[in-house]
């Protein structure tokens, strides 16, 4: 269980707290979705979960271990995998299998078992046969799946995904969400941070973060039932939708249903 207990975070040199009084828990096999607008403190929360950031007040426990206890830091990090928004910036290896092996190599796993773990992790994210592929030759969606495989190879009990679909197209997003579903089924606890309302439909619980505080906690269905609240919190609108609505306000003839960059260009600048 990852437990945030009344957590507050104030960054050095900042007057206003990044998080205040946040309490939340993620159990094994549970998919918790955390929504919030940019700057609401989502990434801070993600980094609290694996001791990259320590709480200023309150406490974070991972399977009973206090993240402030320096002697358990690496235990915490091997138990809580973190996947960040930009896949490009978290790939270390020059080829896919080397990158997936990076985490378990740091844990000192013997070479023979490394091979098993790497192949299993690549297979779990649908990248069989990509072992020797160079990262820059992968699509954004494949890179993000590679980053997830890198976390999985450490055999974490929990996975924290910090906006894993923000930079992906429709197919890439669907692939990542399918992986999340199968991980939950295999008993991994998931904290999924996002600002796409559509991503959270199959989550077990949903929480909404606004200006550093949790303002909603319940099932995704409860949240969907209150569109007024969703709109007030500034979540749920993908960047393309926001851009389209701004363009329409300014009088450009763009269809309100545009979601793809190509079709937006096409309607602004017909060839």
């Amino acid at each position: 269980m990852i437990e945030f207990q009344d957590v507050g975070v104030v960054y050095a040199g900042s007057d206003s707290p990044a998080l205040t009084g946040v309490s939340l828990s993620v159990a094994p096999g549970q998919w918790v979705a955390l929504l919030g607008a940019n700057g609401s403190g989502k990434s801070t929360l993600a980094r609290l979960a694996n001791a990259l950031i320590l709480p200023t007040t309150g406490a974070v426990h991972v399977d009973g271990m206090d993240t402030r206890d320096e002697s358990v830091v690496w235990d915490v990090r091997s138990r809580v995998g973190l996947v960040q928004q930009s896949p490009e910036n978290q790939i270390v290896g020059t080829i896919a299998e080397e990158d997936v092996a990076f985490g378990p190599e740091n844990l000192g796993i013997p070479t023979a078992e490394l091979r098993t773990r790497v192949d299993a992790a690549l297979s779990a994210v649908g990248l069989d046969g990509f072992q020797r592929r160079e990262p820059h030759l992968l699509s954004e969606g494949q890179k993000q799946r590679l980053a997830i495989a890198g976390a999985l190879a450490m055999r974490p009990a929990y996975l924290v995904l910090d906006e894993p679909t923000a930079m992906l197209d429709g197919t890439g997003r669907a692939d990542v969400l399918a992986i999340v579903r199968s991980l939950r089924a295999s008993g991994v606890g998931i904290l999924h941070i996002t600002h796409h309302l559509a991503d959270i439909a199959s989550a077990d619980r949903a929480a909404v973060l606004d200006s550093g505080a949790i303002v909603f906690e319940g099932t995704p269905a409860d949240l969907f039932a209150d569109p007024g609240r969703v709109r007030r919190l500034g979540i749920g609108l993908p960047p393309m939708t926001t851009l389209v609505s701004v363009l329409r306000e300014r009088g450009h003839a763009v269809p309100a249903t545009t979601v793809e960059a190509e079709s937006l260009v096409e309607s602004l600048w017909p060839s």
Binding site: R47, N50, L52, W74, R77, S78, G81, L82, Q84, S86, E88, N89, Q90, I91, V92, G93, T94, I95, E97, E98, A101, F102, G103, P104, E105, N106, L107, G108, I109, P110, T111, L114, R115, V118, E134, P135, H136, A147, G150, A151, M154
Partner: protein, 265 residues
């Protein structure tokens, strides 16, 4: 758009030299360097020349590419040749004389000897990078540097730095390409004016490129910490390139031959 990035100078052909372990090749390069400096006469240098020709042939690297490094050295070669060949008022019989300056036979021979040594050295050692991928080189370097850990040299960390640098070269090239396109779309011109103006046109490319690199570095550091990286100590490796019996025999025989030539001739 995909930026064509040629990684170092690796020539991807299949050959016996390519399949040798990087550490074997590093060892051979060291022996070759020792041998070529021990040689003190044209017969020895001739044999070394044959060794280089044989090695290039075995590596199946096109000779044109194998000697590419020499072209950059034309100034040094000319300088070496002249520094030895030119004499001031020599007592010997001069071949060419220009006032007090003269070129005589022994001077010319000496200059040629040193010039040939440089050419052979460059062609011979460049075979290492021509037949070994940067990844294999980095791994090999880590193993070769490992004994230095006794004197606290951070071999694992240096190898990690090289790996990350290699990993981000294509990414950075792709990003530079993207920024150039974005700036071109805003009216920037990169193909006009003299060299200074052209160089200055790249400032608006380099600034965002560097800002992005620093942001990348920070996120990468967090990602590495999340995956429990705490320096080289205690790390295991997925791909351990081990030297085979062939590697050891090639290294042993090669070293004997190369150093032997140097000592004998």
């Amino acid at each position: 758009m995909r930026v064509p990035v040629s990684f170092g100078q690796y020539v991807p052909v299949a050959s016996a030299v390519h399949t040798l372990d990087a550490k074997t090749k590093m060892g051979l390069v060291a022996s070759f360097t020792a041998g070529i400096f021990l040689v003190d006469g044209f017969p020895g240098m001739g044999v070394m020349g044959l060794v280089v020709v044989l090695a290039v042939a075995l590596s199946r690297v096109p000779p044109r590419i194998a000697v590419r490094g020499v072209r950059a050295l034309s100034f040094i070669l000319t300088f070496t040749l002249l520094a030895h060949a030119l004499r001031w008022n020599p007592a010997t019989v001069a071949l060419v004389r220009l006032g007090p300056l003269a070129i005589d036979g022994p001077g010319l021979a000496e200059g040629l000897f040193f010039a040939v040594r440089i050419v052979l050295l460059v062609v011979g050692t460049s075979l290492l990078t021509l037949t070994t991928t940067p990844v294999q080189l980095t791994d090999g370097l880590e193993r070769v540097m490992r004994p230095l850990e006794i004197v606290r040299f951070p071999a694992g960390e240096v190898a990690m730095m090289l790996t990350i640098a290699l990993r981000f070269i294509p990414t950075t090239a792709q990003e530079a390409e993207k920024i150039i396109i974005a700036q071109t779309a805003r009216g920037a011109r990169f193909d006009e004016g003299g060299p200074i103006r052209r160089a200055r046109a790249f400032v608006p490319v380099l600034v965002p490129l560097f800002v992005n690199l620093f942001r990348r570095a920070e996120e990468l550091a967090l990602a590495m910490e999340s995956r429990c990286y705490r320096g080289g100590a205690g790390r295991t490796r997925l791909n351990v390139s081990a030297m085979t019996v062939t590697d050891w025999s090639v290294l042993a025989i090669g070293t004997l031959v190369l150093v032997g030539i140097g000592l004998a001739l």
